[in-house]
Amino acid sequence: ALVSCHRHYRSRPTHGIGRYKYLLPKEAPKKKRDRVQMKEIDVGTEHEYGDINIQMTSYDMCLVEHFAQYVHRLCNRLAVRVKESYAMPTKTNEVLFLEERGSKMQLDAVLTTHQRVVQISGLSSTFAPILLEAIQSNQPEGVHLLVKEHTEADFKSRLKSRPELEELLAQMS
């Protein structure tokens, strides 16, 4: 790093000319497998809301994705800090209906429910109704909107369940 392609001899006064990496801020070494840690949940002050989840649910994936993108860009434009923007696992439902003449349940359709979440923080109390108004006016058909505060339970629902660990913990206590 000290010597570039044009060699400056160590005794010359031009030795080390062109060094700049020592001026940059120190970057923490990135671990190979970063632990999926929960980011701190902001509670918020009297005039500002803390972490808020805007959850959009629908059977149609394209609509929900586009709406999530729209909400994210709207927040960027209105200088609202977007902490995270992720997708929740898809839920699949089998709809069975009873035939008119018969007692057997027949398969009607297989529906997939998709959910996207945009997490914002630091929303001021005077601006919140305006943002909600803007989101509502552009809500597409069939997309269910839910705006709520972020909790640890919401984060835990994204993680895989560990039945063995839970069993052992139950046995211990």
């Binding site: 497998r33 632990r35 999926v36 009297e46 005039h47 500002e48 809301y49 808020i52 629908s58 434009r77 209105l78 997708a87 929740m88 696992p89 898809t90 839920k91 699949t92 439902n93 089998e94 709809v95 069975l96 209906f97 009873l98 008119e100 349940m105 009607d108 297989v110 998709h114 109390s125 005077t126 601006f127 919140a128 109704p129 305006i130 909600l132 108004e133 803007a134 809500q139 597409p140 058909e141 069939g142 997309v143 269910h144 909107l145 839910l146 705006v147 709520k148 505060e149 994204r158 993680l159 895989k160 369940s161 560990r162 039945p163 063995e164 660990l165 052992l168 913990l169 046995q171 211990m172």
Partner: protein, 189 residues
């Protein structure tokens, strides 16, 4: 009277038939003088329990060391049947008028969307301006009310709203009976 004779003849060691044999055996043991050391496993029991607990704690530590994983999202994984490259769509060539028509339509659509977007941004700006003016006037009126208005609304969240529908619900519609079965794949670590 023969039975009584037989029972009195029988030695005391044999358990009598009248009572439940288990309880008679126990009373027999208690009645017998125990001279030998009782072989009760007093020392090994707590040690065994302790060892069991240690093993469980070790297992728990090992499982807890592994970082919790996120559930993979099926939306972002393309199903393998769409990865096949052999199927290619062959479109017919378009005429000059058709391409021109499409390009002009696209331009008109872009202009329309731009106007719509601008109008939306303008609406948001007017909303903010009106709100600020109203708050300023309120402050001049009374400080208390202004402070109360600035505060955050606890009843606002959670906020839920269903999207608009294409058609209203049909009156007098009788849906067939049925049920919904959740067949989501459960991932465990």
């Amino acid at each position: 009277c023969l039975f009584f004779f037989l029972s009195s003849w029988l030695p005391q060691m044999v358990p009598s038939r009248g009572s439940h044999w288990q309880s008679s055996l126990l009373t027999l043991r208690a009645s017998l003088p125990m001279r030998a050391q009782p072989k009760k496993k007093k020392k090994v029991d707590p040690r065994r329990e302790q060892a069991q607990k240690d093993r469980m704690k070790k297992k728990i530590k090992k499982l807890e060391k592994a970082a919790p994983e996120m559930i993979p999202i099926e939306d972002f994984v393309t199903p393998p049947k769409y990865l096949d490259n052999s199927r290619v769509r062959s479109l017919p060539p378009l005429s000059f008028e058709e391409t021109e028509r499409r390009v002009l339509l696209m331009k008109r659509w872009c202009l329309f969307k731009q106007k719509q977007d601008k109008a939306e941004k303008q609406a948001i700006q007017t909303l903010i301006a009106a709100q600020q003016e109203a708050l300023k006037e309120l402050r001049l009126e009374s400080e208390e009310l202004y402070q109360a208005a600035i505060r955050r609304d606890e009843g606002l969240f959670p906020f839920e709203r269903e999207g608009p529908n294409y058609t209203p619900p049909l009156p007098g519609y009788d849906p067939p009976e049925g049920k919904c079965v959740d067949i989501t794949k459960v991932y465990t670590q």
